[in-house]
Amino acid sequence: MNTIIVAVIIFFQIVTGFVLCQGFFSLRKRSIFETLPFAFGMGVGFYTYLLLILSQLHIEWNPLYILPLFLIATIYFLFGKKEEFEMRFSFYNKMTYFQKTMLAGIYVTVFYTLFQALLRPLYAWDGWAIWLVKSKAFYLDGFINPVIFHVLHDSYPFIMSLNSTLYYLFIGSADDKAVLVSYFGFYVMSGILLFSSFYKKIGIYMGLLSVFLFYTLQNEIRHGGRFEAGYSDLALGFYFFASLVIFRFFREKKLNSSIILLGIFLGMTSLIKQEGLAMAAIVAIQFIFYSLKARISIRKMILLFIGFVPFVNWYVFKLVNSINGSLYENSSFHMSRFFEIMYFMAKEFLNIQNWNLFWVVVVFCVPIIVKNRLIRYELFAAAALFFVYIGVFMVSPHDPSVHIPNVMNRLLLHVALIWFYILFTSVYELLNKKPIITLKFFTEHDEK
């Protein structure tokens, strides 16, 4: 029953996200299918921000205060500007038998992960020690009590914890099994986001193939439902990639509302995990660089930083409450670790159990990836993040031979979506420019 309640709340989060994304921001002209992942991300962020504001205003977290918002969003979704909410799965009717078989493979994989998410209670270590322990504490205290941060000696941001607190409020207890469905939600939405981000460019065959390969990665399945649901890395990868997709929307149409939406998603990325701040900074720097190049006015550029207001709020909250549990406070730089870091990274690339042949194919395709100018912003972001992580390992107070193998599979989750986008866009370019008769079906569009 509790799982159903969580599923219903997720539904209302998506509806609210739709209304915000399509009603107020730049996704107005896009279909429901393309908007769905952004609506999910926006809905999750919106309600966690709401809980944060209520907590800071000393207003009780009562589900009855949130229900009217669900109602208003649903009414707006159903009756307001209906033509914009038209269901447009136009590509589905044109799909071939082979494409539908591939889609069936995707359904079978997603069903397996859902089944795993429903099968067990929380087991993931970070769920115990960081995310859901705070959800439970916030729920029991009825507000964001800084005490729990001191008890745990951490300063991780709040979105993932508060999101589960929202579900607890509606369930009426801290049921850590039921909320694992929300982690499955990030798994599903990641695949939809990947497909919708490039199927018009690379075709349905290649789009479905990439999503099938993404969903079947064992590491994704584990974090989406099997044993490691409860870590926030899948969500972080989702928000990072969503921000890059919105950045592309901005480059295409240069709408002010795209800038605000990008800022909001970057703000959310920085509030998922601490690594999110580095990701948000990388995309923000790219945005500024691009805007200067495209002669976008400074006044427009400033719109980006509206989305960072919650981050500033969070930072002030940490300062006021003396929350500072960073592991890296008293660290020093160890250049000598470089080769060791490279060794453990390469080892994870070759971890077929986690990643199948994904990273092997990425490495093999480096020559075509670096030549592909269509993905240069995504490539810069993904590469910059690698350097950030190398830098983090160099200053880490932990022994790299223990630290890196422990976290590397999760760090690669942050960039998996982007690398899928980069890889399949580049492979499509390769096959499209040099078609080989037997491989033609990979590059054919449904329109052709």
Partner: protein, 165 residues
């Protein structure tokens, strides 16, 4: 033999590279399908027993004795209680502290080792819990103020819950 006959042309290299990329992706697809099939086989064979367990049994399977210990403490104490855990040593059960916080928040928890805990310091707690893999008791000075509330024994592990009189 002319140089051009030995070194393949750029066109052939590109074509070979393309074919290799496609072969690698095909192999990747094949492995994914096999892995997916294996996942389902495993779900209905070695993991089948999970279907028939209730929530408590699943938690015991995942966390072992820690779930039994912590859920017992949760039931026996109130959220306003303060609890001192006296462990055999801090490495005895890695991560036990975090799990204890997860189960028992907002109770005030303090962790100490058998060697270092002080009887005077311990007077300020509502409960003292001894947890280790051999007989762990309490000093005579404390036994005047605390009484044994519960005892749980596993194969080699034991937990004594002492409550303030």
């Amino acid at each position: 033999m002319r140089r051009s006959q030995i070194i393949p042309s750029a066109g052939i290299l590109k074509k070979s590279y393309t074919i290799l990329v496609v072969l690698l992706i095909s192999l990747w697809v094949l492995l994914s399908v096999v892995r997916l099939g294996y996942n389902y086989v495993r779900a209905f064979s070695s993991e089948k027993e999970w279907f028939f367990m209730d929530d408590g049994e699943k938690r015991v399977r995942l966390l072992g004795y820690e779930h039994i210990l912590l859920s017992t403490i949760e039931k026996r104490t109130t959220p306003t209680d303060s609890i001192l855990f006296v462990l055999q040593d801090m490495q005895f059960s890695p991560g036990f502290g975090y799990k204890a916080i997860y189960y028992l928040y907002p109770r005030r928890l303090v962790f100490d080792t058998e060697k270092e805990w002080s009887a005077d310091f311990s007077n300020s707690f509502s409960y003292i819990i001894f947890f280790g893999n051999k007989g762990m008791g309490m000093s005579k000075s404390l036994s005047q103020k605390y009484e044994l509330d519960d005892h749980i024994q596993f194969d080699v592990l034991g937990m004594n819950i002492y409550k303030k009189k």
